[in-house]
Every structure is written in C-alpha cells, then in structure tokens.
C-alpha cells in the first residue's frame, strides 16, 4: 500500500523522460554538427534518414508488442525476408511493382498472425515464439528466392516506388537533388498509430492486457483477439519496413540479413519510454528513441569513432534506458 502511494508521481516522471529524450536528440544533433563538418551536409541527412525509415517502422510495430507485455524478435530478419519475397515476385514472376509491394506487406501480416497465434492461442512465451519465427524468416527468404534479389533500379520504368521515400528533383542548376519525402509516411504512421494506441479499443485493450492480463480478462476483454492484434500490427509494420528498406538499398537484398535490427528496434522503443514489462509506451517516444540510435549510428563515425565505439556507446545508452524502466517498475511493485 505504501508502495502504491510512492508511485504517485510516476506519470509525471514519464513525461519528464520524454522531455529528456527530446533534449538528447537535440544535443546529439548539435554536438555532431559542431564537431563534424561532414555531418552538417545535406547528403548526410538524407543517408541518415534512409536507414531511419525502415528502422522506425519496425520499432513502431514492436512497440505494440512490448506494450501488450510481449515481444517480437522476428521483425528484423522478417523485414528482409518479406522484401526478398516481394522482390522475387517482381523480378522472377513478372508481377507489377505495386503487386510486389503488396506481397511484401502480406507476408508481414501472415507472420504477424503466426506470431499472434503462437503467443495468444498456444500460449508460448513471446520471446521464444518470436525467436523461432525469427529463425524461420531468416531461412525462408533464401529458400523461396534461391539467392539475392534486386528490386527494380531507379532508372528502370518499374523503379518509381523509390520516390516514395526519396524524391529526385532537378534543382536550379539542373542537377538532381534528393528530397527525403519518406518523412511524410513516417509522420503519418506515428500520428495514426498514436491515435490507435490511445483512442481506439485495440490500443486500449493492448495496454490493459500489458498492464494486468487477468484483470482485463475478468473485465470481459477478448484477450486472445487483442493480444494477437499487437503481433499483427507488428507484422504489418515489418512489411512496411521491408518496402522502406528496398527503397533505401540500391544493391541487392541478401537473404539471411537483418538479424540484430529487432534488438535495436526494441532498444529504441525502450529509450522512448516503453516498458519491458508492458502497459506503458508511446509511439512518439519510439520515434525519438529510434532517432537517437540513428544519430549515434551515423554521427559517431563522423567524429572518428568507428563501428566498435558505436556498439559500445549504444550498449551504454540502452543500459541507462532500461535502468530507468527498472526503477519505474520497482516503485510500482
């Protein structure tokens, strides 16, 4: 009882965390800009955003699984797998580009349903269930496609889709300049998913299940259905990420890649204030969390800290973020 009282200011703390995260984004961007002339270049921003898009999509999906008290480890390898199968349909089966994109999203949905079935109907622990589908998606792309796949190049008539995230326009001097229009779908996704999370039954029940599954069940919430919907959302966004991924990738898509991305995505969500134990989280927070990780990934090399340092610093940031989550939970327990 005493403990319940102690947690009286936790909701305010949560807001504080978001302000801190926003401040970190600004500070990081400022520091990198000051110390690296290279970082200030427009082309750097465009490159940074390329990886940010797909990263952000999978993290938005994973956020819903985390809030429901679960997890989804299949999103990283899944994203690559769905993109491979979609690309295979275009290049090998001759489907139009839009159909290939739909296939990519459909694959995501299928695996979302599978994950949801394993977790909510078969009651497998989410961590293990999605670890298994992570392995499955890792191998499946190669089995279906038989090797690397190239989505149509920008120059080809079927390459129009690349403009969805990076639009090439002629500037005044007659040179082609990229405009990072991918920001628009990302912002749309954040707004819509925030609305779904906070203002619709799906979101409300996902939070309720993550907060106290038994209480939600006793209140008449269809726990199986809504727990499953969190995984379907995650799968759908892994599919969207697949499309953003091929738009950002000019070389061929390699089967079996994408492992590790899911951990970064989960890390980003947690930095953004989503709780590992469920019931708490925000889509906007995830956006900021991913922004921090993307800034670190792109900025550190520019100030002379290579891949190794990048991993070390990302790890330290994550420890810090998870520790804040643990502290918040300790007060509630």
């Amino acid at each position: 009882m005493q403990n319940t009282r102690l947690s009286g200011n936790s909701s305010r703390k949560f807001d504080l965390q978001r302000i801190v995260v926003l401040a970190v984004v600004i500070v990081l961007a400022a520091v990198f800009s000051i110390f690296s002339r290279d970082f200030r270049k427009f082309s750097t921003v465009v490159t940074l955003l390329d990886s940010f898009y797909y990263f952000c999509f999978i993290a938005i999906g994973v956020t819903f699984c985390l809030i429901s008290g679960g997890n989804d480890l299949s999103v990283g390898t899944g994203m690559v797998c769905y993109a491979l199968i979609g690309g295979f349909c275009i290049t090998k089966l001759g489907l139009p580009t839009w159909a290939g994109m739909l296939v990519t999203i459909a694959c995501g949905l299928v695996f979302g349903v599978l994950n949801g079935f394993l977790v909510s109907v078969m009651n497998l622990p989410a961590f293990i269930a999605t670890l298994c589908t992570m392995l499955i998606t890792r191998g499946l792309g190669s089995v279906v496609c038989g090797g690397a796949v190239n989505w149509p190049a920008r120059s080809s008539p079927n390459g129009w889709f690349r403009n969805l995230f990076k639009l090439m326009v002629l500037n005044s001097s007659g040179k082609k300049t990229p405009v990072p229009v991918g920001v628009i779908p990302i912002l749309l996704a954040v707004i819509i998913m925030s609305l779904i999370l906070n203002k619709t039954r799906i979101g409300r029940y996902i939070i309720a299940i993550g907060s106290n599954k038994e209480a939600a069940r006793l209140s008449g919430v269809n726990v199986v259905k809504y727990q499953m919907s969190a995984y379907i959302i995650s799968g759908f966004f892994a599919g969207l990420a697949g499309i953003a991924y091929v738009c950002a990738t000019t070389s061929s898509i390699t089967p079996g890649s994408g492992a590790g991305l899911e951990l970064d995505a989960i890390g980003g969500a947690i930095i953004g204030g989503t709780s590992m134990t469920g019931g708490v989280g925000s889509v906007f927070g995830t956006l900021l969390g991913i922004l921090i990780l993307t800034l670190l990934k792109n900025g550190l090399p520019k100030i002379g800290l290579g891949q190794d340092w990048q991993n070390i610093i990302t790890g330290l940031v994550l420890i810090f973020a998870i520790y804040i989550d643990v502290l918040k939970n300790r007060k509630k327990a």
């Binding site: 939070i207 106290n212 209140s219």
Partner: protein, 496 residues
C-alpha cells in the same frame, strides 16, 4: 431490512479429497449488510465463488429475485446484478480510473473512444457515492483505499443489486475504512443487499445487520448482530470440537537458554514492533488469521525481506541478518509455506536437494563430492524416515509429506539449530501430518528450537509449548500452552 433478494440453500461442493461446502445456507435481504464469518478455510470464499459462477455447485439451490438461478461465469452474475469487490483488486494500473471502470463497454464516438464522456460518467458515479476521485488519474497512482472505491463505483455502474465485499478492510487505513462504511450505509439505504466477509469482530458489530457463521465448510448459524456478543460469534467460529489431543504443558526445561531473541522488530505494515524469545528445545507456535503478519515476521527474521528496525540475538549475541545467507550462517533455517516455490527444486533428486543449502561442505576441489553427498543424504533419509525407493529419486515424485522431509533434511544437513516451519502440514494428508508432528517433537527433544507458523488451531494446540498470536502485524498475545484455549487464541487473533 426489506424482502429477501437472495437465498442459497443446501449448497454442497466437493473437490477431490475435500468436502469444501457441506449443505450451507445463506439468506440476504434488500437493504441489509450480512456478515459472513469463519476461520481461514471455513468455506466463505468458496461459497461466494459458487454464487458467482466461478465454481459450479454439486447440489442445492440459489434463488435470486424470486427465480432459481445458476450462473455459468462471473459475467453472467454481473449482468444479473451480483458483483464481487475482490480482496485482490482487479485493476489495470496503467489505465486511468475512468478507463478501468468502463473497460469492455467504452463510450465511443465513431471509431474513437470518448474519454471525455467516460470521465464525465465516472464523475457522476463518484458524486453519487460522495467520494472525491479524479477519473482521469492513473489507477496506479491511487492508494489501495481509493482503488477499492473505484471497484465499488464499477460495481454500481453495473446496476448491482447484491454486492459482495471480500475482506474489504484488510488493506485500508482507519480513515479509509470510515469512508468505506459511509458508502456501505448509503448502499444499504438504497436497498441493496450486501455480503460482508471480514475477520474483524469490531467491524462486524458496527456495520452489519446479521451474521452467518461457517466452520469447516458447514453452516453453523445465523445471528442478529445487535442481539449477540463477540463471544457468541467466536464460539460459533471455533466450535467445541477438539480434533487432536492438545499438549497440556510445556516440554521445555524452565532453565533452557534463550537461543533466539527478537527485539522490537519492524518490517512494513505487517510486522510492527514484534518482540519474542525462543528457548532451546522449544516449539513456539505462531497463530493468527490470514494476513496477520506471521510469515512476514519469519521472512524478516530470516533476512528474506528488509527490516526497518529492531534487533535479533542468537545465543545471546546480537547478529546482523540482512540476507538468507546471513541467517543460515547463524543456524536459522526457514521452511516456506510455499514448498514448491521456495523450498525445494522439484526436478532434482533428493540428494541434490538435501545438500543445496550447504554445498560448500560437499566439494572436493572444484567438484561435488558425490560419495559424501550420498552418505549424508542417506543418513537423513533414514533418520527422517523419508519414504523413497532411493536417494536418486526426483523430488517431484515424492508425496507432499516426504517432500517436506527433504526440506527438513536440507536444513539439518546445514546444522541449523533454529528452524522456522511455515505451515508445515499444508497440503499434506492426515497420516503424513502426524509423522511430521512426531518428527518436530523429536527435533525439539534433541535440542533444536522450532518456530511453527500455523493457521490450523488444533495443530497449534497440539504442537506448541508456547503460543504467540498476531493480528494485523502486531503481537496481540503470548500464551503458555497450559493456559491456551481456542477461544483465547481466536479472541487475540480478532482483536480489532
């Protein structure tokens, strides 16, 4: 009191091996607060679970608003207007108060949830109850008392006609209880039927109109509260039957040294200023109702939970116990009430479990000395008469009584002289029970000192040399076995 709204008649319910309810009757009127009382395990909760469709009855009838009913699940009961306010609150801490109250039946505006409307409706409910809670506050930020008010508001929003309170005051402060009573009186004035389950005698006198007492799954009787005394109710609760021959006098030598002294121990709400002494060769019984703080006291002594203040002396020397390792070092062993969770590793063998607490004595270099481990285990299997085909048997295959013996062996191997038995015979059949009793008596005769926490009155009276009674985190009585009676103990256990 108005007309009868609910009648349960001849309700019978058996679980494998237990006759949980034996033809129990209960009648609730409109505008009545009806207390349901009985010791732990008397069947109160089971009866309410039968009423609300969590369990199905074997026989008997339930008549509600003039019709015979049988609810299949709590939701059906709820829709008919029978609601339970549970002891453990079913709340989602991360949602707001209004979101909790209206979960599953949200007000919508198109596709979107109309939170503003829900806050408004919740506010109306609270106004109706005369309580001041902000509907937009996160549930987790409220005190337990306020959370309970929200549960009540939720119940009323379901148009409840019968509300069951399952030990509502257990976690509340005095002020919160006052507020709760005010609400209950309001509900009574609105002609609702209220079932009030509680152990607190004083509350029963203050708030209830009638009392139904249950004992061992049977119906004992119904009294009009204002016409009876506390003693009447206590006598009905404990009955006159003595199941086991109680100990008549203490077996402890008058000059036996004090091996454990606990001085003004404080640890949270359930351990407040507890002091006592334990003598060599003594069995000290800890009696009290559920939530009295007995297990919490034991866990604080054992270092499993943090202490706020207070000193512990072992063999006259002051000791610092901040963790179970410290306790074990000073020769204190704790046998948890929840054996499967804290006592044994069920998937391991008897030998592996027996040496678990003292593995450092069984290593040769870096490896475990199998022979030494087997010898020691065999010694205690023989001594405790553990029934097993062999010491390599997995503990999961043993009966409850024999599992308990393995836990005892674990602490004996560790040379613990002070043993805390928390509900030592819970979930153990009658034959094995008396074996455990003999074993405890033997251990005490050999000079081990035992603290025995037990919710079973006959067990306390049969085993203890001295009895400490706790109520709501405080020691309320210390009784020598020669003077102990069920009535005295129950009186001290229900002091509030």
């Amino acid at each position: 009191m108005g007309e009868v709204i609910l009648t349960m008649k001849g309700i019978d319910k058996s679980f494998p091996g237990v006759h949980a309810l034996d033809h129990v009757d209960l009648e609730v009127c409109r505008g009545e607060v009806h207390a349901l009382m009985g010791e732990n395990g008397a069947g109160k909760s089971t009866l309410m679970k039968v009423l609300t469709g969590i369990y199905s009855k074997d026989s008997g009838t339930i008549t509600y608003e003039g019709r015979e009913v049988e609810f299949q699940n709590p939701r059906e009961a709820q829709e008919a207007g029978i609601v339970i306010v549970h002891q453990e609150l079913n709340m989602m801490n991360h949602l707001t108060v209004a979101q909790n109250i209206f979960i599953g039946r949200e007000y919508m505006k198109g596709f979107l949830i109309d939170d503003a409307r829900m806050n408004l409706e919740a506010k109306k409910l609270f106004d109706q109850l005369g309580i001041d809670i902000n509907p937009a506050e996160k549930m987790g930020n409220l005190t337990v008392g306020k959370q309970q008010m929200c549960e009540i508001a939720k119940a009323i929003s379901h148009e409840a006609k019968v509300i069951i309170f399952d030990e509502p005051s257990a976690a509340l402060t005095e002020a919160e209880i006052e507020e709760l009573f005010k609400i209950i009186r309001d509900l009574r004035a609105k002609q609702m039927g209220i079932v009030y389950i509680s152990h607190r005698m004083d509350e029963i006198k203050v708030i209830t109109d009638r009392v139904t007492v249950m004992r061992d799954g049977s119906y004992v009787g119904t009294l009009i509260t204002k016409d009876c005394t506390k003693d009447d109710i206590v006598n009905m609760m404990v009955g006159r039957v003595i199941y086991e021959e109680p100990k008549t006098h203490s077996m402890v030598a008058p000059d036996a040294p004090v091996v454990l002294k606990v001085d003004h121990l404080n640890a949270g709400k359930l351990v407040q200023d507890v002091s006592f002494e334990l003598r060599k060769g003594e069995i000290l019984g800890f009696s009290g109702l559920m939530g009295a703080g007995r297990t919490e006291t034991a866990r604080a002594i054992f270092g499993a939970d943090p202490k706020e203040s207070g000193d512990i002396y072992v063999n006259g020397e002051k000791v610092e116990i901040n963790s179970p390792q410290d306790a074990v070092k000073h020769g204190i062993g704790y046998l948890s009430e929840d054996r499967k969770r804290y006592g044994i590793v069920v998937g391991k063998t008897i030998a592996e479990n027996s040496t678990l607490a003292s593995l450092e004595d069984f290593v040769k270099g870096r490896l475990i000395d199998r022979k030494k481990e087997r010898d020691a285990t065999q010694k205690y299997v023989d001594r405790l008469r553990t029934k097993t085909p062999g010491i390599d048997q997995l503990v999961i295959n043993l009966s409850g009584g024999n599992q308990q013996k393995v836990v005892i062996a674990k602490w004996l191997v560790r040379n613990c002289d002070i043993l805390i038995f928390d509900e030592p015979t819970r979930g153990i059949d009658v034959g094995a029970k008396s074996e455990i009793y003999h074993l405890m008596s033997e251990l005490a005769a050999e000079g081990k000192s035992i603290i025995m926490i037990s919710s079973e009155m006959p067990e306390v009276l049969r085993m203890s040399d001295r009895i400490i009674v706790m109520c709501e985190g405080r020691k309320t009585a210390e009784i020598d076995i020669a003077d102990a009676t069920q009535e005295k103990i129950m009186h001290a256990a229900t002091l509030r």
